[in-house]
């Protein structure tokens, strides 16, 4: 393998679960410690990584400078520490930048995790401590940036996400990229088959028994139990709820008002239909 293997997703689509699974496979099927052993798959927008590889202090940089820093960091990561990284960036040129944060020439392959945007909206609202109305508006915002904070130190740097549908399209419709699409709903409904296909795509030699053990080890109650006992480093400071909430597909039916359902379906409908959500 040369270059970067990306676990790419819009936030709240299940990539942390997927990382926990991969960590468990590497640990022989036991439950990873969520506050240490998920870190093996690092984030390309982690501030510490950007500062180390960029030799800069991100607090001091303008959004334009950060947009120039990101591709540099991705190239250096590919050179110095190729491997698996998680990203929430869209595969698009950010408004302040000249190229995508992860340039195509350093990408070896991409696992793209996608989830029904109606469920994403509910989870997004809880994670960022905002109303579901705000979350739905964010999913439809083509200019949306994540990770910029002017009021506190941030563990992440600016990421350009655009809207939910544009984010999905930027990764799965990108010619030349080797992309494996994983639907959250398939992880829930058919975990063995879906996780096994993931392992095959990543060239992980994992026996069926190990895959089964890892799926069991990262059940939502095991991860949520750890969060209750010791917190979770990746929980957002403004979060209104636990990070590991329910781990179900279709929960929006109980929580999302019909005007919001209509809004999301109107704004994201074409891509939802392509993915079998409509």
């Amino acid at each position: 393998m040369s270059g970067l293997t990306l676990i790419a997703s819009y936030p709240k689509s299940g990539s942390t679960w997927l990382r926990a699974f991969l960590a468990s496979v590497a640990l022989g099927g036991r439950t990873p410690n969520i506050n240490g052993e998920l870190g093996a798959i690092r984030s390309l927008s982690a501030r510490a990584l950007c500062e180390r590889l960029g030799d800069v202090d991100c607090d001091d940089l303008s959004p334009r400078a950060i947009a120039a820093l990101r591709p540099l960091v991705s190239r250096r990561a590919a050179q110095a520490a190729a491997g698996i990284y998680k990203v929430h960036d869209a595969n698009l040129v950010p408004p302040a930048g000249e190229e995508p944060a992860i340039p195509a020439d350093v990408i070896d392959r991409v696992v793209y995790v996608v989830r029904d945007p109606r469920d994403v909206a509910v989870s997004f609202a809880a994670h960022f401590g905002m109303s579901i109305e705000q979350a739905a508006a964010t999913l439809g915002d083509p200019t949306f940036m994540l990770g910029h904070a002017d009021d506190r130190p941030n563990a992440q740097v600016d990421q350009f996400l655009s809207s939910w549908a544009a984010h999905v399209a930027s990764w799965i419709d990108s010619p030349g990229l080797h992309v494996h699409l994983v639907r959250y709903e398939d992880l829930v409904a058919q975990p063995l088959r879906t996780f096994a296909a993931l392992c095959a795509f990543l060239d992980l030699a994992a026996e069926r028994t190990l895959i089964e053990a890892a799926i069991e080890a990262v059940r939502i109650d095991a991860l949520a139990g750890q969060e209750d006992a010791a917190g979770f480093v990746e929980r957002h400071p403004l979060a209104a709820a636990r990070f590991f909430r329910r781990g179900v597909a279709g929960g929006w039916r109980q929580t999302l008002s019909s005007p919001l359902v209509a809004r999301i379906e109107r704004e994201q409908g074409a891509m939802m239909a392509r993915l079998g959500y409509l």
């Binding site: 506050n35 501030r47 510490a48 500062e51 180390r52 590889l53 960029g54 030799d55 800069v56 202090d57 991100c58 607090d59 001091d60 940089l61 303008s62 334009r64 400078a65 120039a68 820093l69 540099l72 190239r75 002017d150 009021d151 506190r152 130190p153 941030n154 563990a155 006992a229 010791a230 917190g231 480093v233």
Partner: protein, 292 residues
């Protein structure tokens, strides 16, 4: 140091006037440096050791030699922003060029003995230094701690009496940000000057603390790192502008400095809860350890 750019953060030179070691002036800078690799939008380092640092919207800094810096401010850049990189990144380059070890740390003097606090950005270096200053100790440096390992025992060359602090950190020492310069436009991080609590004299390095966060409500723990190789590894992670130092041919010198520090300075790991409520408790422990 002599500068044509006003540098109000710096303390006046305490000694007799003489030839400056470093001259800073505004002027024209080259577009690029001959022979420098072209793989970095921010920085070029040429084979002679000159550095060209280009910060979008702020300024371009040409560190022509260990004694000369030329600054070309960008149109519309505020003087605060222009000084920010001069007193940060460029200071780090000058340390590397002048053979001084730049540790990514904030430092205070406790009874005339320097204590440095390391950690990645956001680990609490400046906040810790601010609280120790509140407790009556003297500030030596913030963010970049220049350590001279050329003498028998490592010592800290103080930099300047300014701390970069977020609003909540300022509030934790009951200081209002009113009238302070912002680190960047619109950012709630401020430049807090403490001229009266600064010590400008080179100070022997008595201890280094590596700051980390403990999860949940676990109480603070301070553990001495005893294995010299572990100390060297840890210090190597905390070199300020390490990548540039290596480009400047300092790899061996940095390792030698880390080894010199590991041989004579106690190094501790601090894991503490992420709030201000418990800070005095573990700072008392720090004071006790340093005074032992």
């Amino acid at each position: 140091m002599a500068s044509s750019l006003a540098l109000p953060e710096l303390a006046p030179w305490p000694g007799t006037p003489g030839e400056p070691d470093i001259v800073i002036r505004t002027g024209t800078v080259p577009d690029r440096l001959e022979g420098a690799p072209d793989d970095d939008p921010f920085l070029q380092v040429d084979p002679r050791g000159a550095c060209l640092l280009r910060i979008p919207d702020v300024a371009t800094y040409h560190v022509a030699s260990a004694g000369e810096v030329v600054v070309a401010p960008g149109a519309g850049a505020s003087p605060t922003e222009v000084r920010l990189f001069l007193l940060g990144t460029v200071l780090g380059f000058l340390c590397h060029l002048r053979g001084v070890f730049p540790l990514h740390a904030s430092a205070v003097s406790i009874d005339g003995r320097a204590v440095a606090f390391c950690g990645v950005s956001g680990a609490g270096k400046s906040t810790t230094a601010a609280h120790l200053v509140q407790r009556g100790h003297r500030l030596l440096s913030d963010d970049v701690c220049a350590i001279d390992t050329g003498q028998d025992d490592p010592r800290v060359f103080p930099t300047f009496p300014r701390l970069k602090l977020w609003q909540d950190s300022l509030a934790s020492i009951s200081v209002s940000e009113e009238g302070m310069e912002r680190n960047r436009p619109g950012q709630s991080k401020f430049h807090y000057r403490r001229q009266d609590d600064f010590s400008a004299a080179p100070t022997p390095l008595a201890a280094i603390f590596l700051l980390a966060r403990s999860e949940g409500q676990a109480p603070a723990t301070i553990t001495r790192v005893t294995n010299p190789l572990a100390i060297i590894r840890a210090l190597d992670e905390e070199v300020y502008r390490a990548r540039t130092g290596v480009l400047l041919g300092r790899r061996g010198a940095l390792l030698a400095a880390e080894a010199a520090i590991a041989a004579s300075v106690p190094v501790y790991r601090v894991a503490r809860p992420w709030d201000f409520a418990h800070i005095d408790g573990w700072l008392e422990q720090v004071e006790t350890l340093v005074r032992e």
